[in-house]
């Protein structure tokens, strides 16, 4: 797929955000906050960095992306639609009976999905599986796993952290969408995971910390991670839940509540 330049990315990120708002308002349910916080990360990956071919979703050499935080499905669907995996009109079928755009990713139903997720904490392990298969198959693709901070509560995340380092799994790049909120409240209040970066470093990961809404920093961190050998990489992206819509930013009401039609209009007026 033809890649966009860094200069072209901001308008793409905005289009993705607009689609997130539109599709969630139409669906009447879903998760705006964690979709918006990951929008810049997915924009850089799908339009600037990843090797993939929407016309051939099963191309064996494609880079893989696993959205471990499956409730963020809208941002992934918007990215896939913009990349050309399916017509953009389909976005408005989100969560409706019979739609391939399930509330959480169902890899049987939509080309371009590399994992079925929605039970938090499982994506990193699946990513290790892809990365080990890559090594066996002597291919050069990368596996990207998008994690939420809430997922670092889960034991399986840390089992995967230990296993990936122990098996010297490279070409595995995790990006933590560190928006500081989970469902009931902030991560700090529910299950504080600080010091986050030190945890991953102590598990022998290559760790970078960036502003997850700075497209240049995201791209630079991913490029650096691609060069790392013999180690998995964790990019801790500091993000803002609800980023891009003033009244959704750091407002955890919009964790799992879709915007009303009126709220959606207000949001779209901001996203121009």
């Amino acid at each position: 797929m033809k890649k966009l330049t860094l200069e072209e990315l901001p308008s793409k990120a905005k289009e993705i955000r607009r689609d997130i708002i539109r599709m969630l308002a139409e669906a009447g349910s879903g998760h705006p906050g964690g979709s918006l916080s990951a929008a810049d990360i997915l924009t850089v990956l799908y339009f600037h960095l990843m090797n993939h071919d929407p016309a051939n979703p099963k191309w064996p050499d494609r880079d893989r992306l696993i959205l471990s935080k499956g409730h963020g499905a809208p941002v992934l669907y918007a990215a896939l639609a913009h990349a050309g995996y399916f017509p953009a009109e389909k976005l408005l079928t989100l969560r409706k009976l019979g739609s391939p755009l399930q509330g959480h990713p169902d890899m049987r139903r939509l080309p371009g999905l590399e994992a079925s997720t929605g039970s938090l904490g499982q994506g990193l392990s699946i990513g290790i599986g892809y990365a080990l298969a890559r090594r066996l198959d002597k291919k050069s693709y990368f596996t990207y796993v998008i994690l939420s901070d809430g997922e670092t509560n889960e034991g399986q995340t840390w089992e995967a952290a230990a296993a990936a380092a122990h098996h010297k799994v490279d070409h595995l790049i995790a990006v933590l969408d560190y928006n500081k909120f989970q469902l009931d409240d902030s991560v700090k209040k529910i299950c504080d995971m600080e010091p986050m970066a030190e945890k991953w470093r102590s598990f022998n990961w290559h760790v970078e910390e960036i502003d997850g809404h700075n497209l240049h920093q995201i791209a630079a961190a991913l490029r650096e991670a691609q060069e790392v050998q013999g180690k998995p990489c964790m990019i801790i992206a500091h993000t803002v839940k609800g980023k891009g819509v003033s009244f959704m930013e750091n407002n955890n009401h919009f964790h799992g509540v879709a915007p009303t039609k009126e709220e959606a209009e207000r949001a779209l007026r901001e996203l121009v």
Binding site: S29, R95, L97, G103, G118, S119, G155, L183
Partner: protein, 319 residues
């Protein structure tokens, strides 16, 4: 049949927890970052020192509950049914069931009536898994009144208990303050031709089906079998002796749920013709709850169809 919607069974659970907290200082509550959805948040606000929001770590939460129970507390442990049961199954087995500890697992979002969130958040396996654990009492209440009573019963019962609640508003079946016992089903209608056995949301559907059947000259018993384990043997055998035909309906995977449990008991003790209404070995999907119940065959017309088949088969098979 008129469908009067009452509170969701999860709402009834949340309110009952607050009552329990007042009556019994040993009651403690654990949740895994879903307290607004499971409705344990109300307890947390009232009794913050006895409420532990563990974060998204269901397995750890069940282990912690086991320790609390071993130390004499009565932990109520909640999350969505799929996550709590599936992520913590070894802890439920090893830390709770095996030592026979007094832990109460009360989940929300049972079944496919979860709706738009889709298959990953819907629990269709929990009754099979939980009835497999020795010593666990397993319940699927049908409305808010019954939920409240059974949660109180669970607190009184010594030993591990599983209760599945649901997300949507639920048709009212019982008058306020009706009492229920663990392991004792309720005969809601008495008929001679076929017995419609159900739990959870399917109880209302079974009642609706019985009215349709009546209009067509088939008299059906309706049994609310809220407790899957232990089964109400006496009630089932009475029904078997009278109608010789059962339709068992549940919002659950057909392998290993209420239907399997009833079939085992009946085939050993008093075989009758049996038909089943359940999810046919598949995952569901996103959609409005009512659309999904219809698509996956869990509404009154499906029960009617099965009941007619059962009655017809009864005429052919000698039992």
């Amino acid at each position: 049949m008129e469908k009067k919607l009452g509170p969701a069974t999860r709402d009834a659970y949340g309110q009952t927890l607050v009552e329990l907290g007042k009556d019994n200082p040993n009651v403690v509550v654990l949740d895994a970052d879903l307290s607004k959805s499971t409705k344990t948040a109300a307890f947390g606000e009232k009794y913050p020192e006895r409420f532990f929001n563990m974060g998204i770590q269901e397995a750890d939460m069940v282990g912690v509950a086991a320790g609390l129970a071993a130390a004499g507390k009565i932990p109520f442990v909640s999350s969505f049914a799929c996550f709590l049961v599936c992520k913590s199954y070894d802890q439920l087995r090893m830390a709770v069931a095996f030592p026979e500890l007094n832990v109460k697992i009360v989940t929300s979002h049972g079944g496919i009536s979860v709706g738009e969130d889709g298959a990953s958040q819907q629990s269709i396996e929990d009754v099979a898994l939980m009835t497999s654990l020795p010593g666990f009492a397993v319940m699927v209440p049908s409305d808010a009144v019954q939920t409240r009573a059974l949660v109180h019963e669970a607190a009184r019962h010594v030993g591990p208990v599983y209760i599945r609640t649901g997300r949507p508003k639920t048709p009212v079946i019982y008058p306020e303050k009706t009492s229920f016992q663990i392991g004792k089903g309720v005969r809601l209608r008495e008929g001679k031709d076929v017995t419609l056995i159900a739990n959870g949301l399917l109880v209302f559907e079974a009642l609706a089906a019985s009215e349709q059947l009546k209009a067509e000259g088939i008299e059906a018993s309706v049994v609310d079998l809220h407790t899957v384990k232990p089964l109400d043997r006496k009630l089932l055998l009475e029904e078997a002796a009278r109608t010789h035909a059962f339709v068992v309906s549940e919002e659950h995977q057909i392998w290993g749920g209420l239907g399997s449990a009833v079939a085992r008991l009946i085939s050993e003790e008093q075989p009758v013709v049996m038909e089943f209404v359940a999810i046919q070995d598949t995952y569901s999907e996103s959609g409005a709850p009512d659309q999904l119940m219809e698509k996956y065959g869990l509404t009154a017309p499906y029960i009617v169809k099965r009941a007619k088949r059962a009655v017809a088969r009864k005429g052919r098979v000698s039992v």
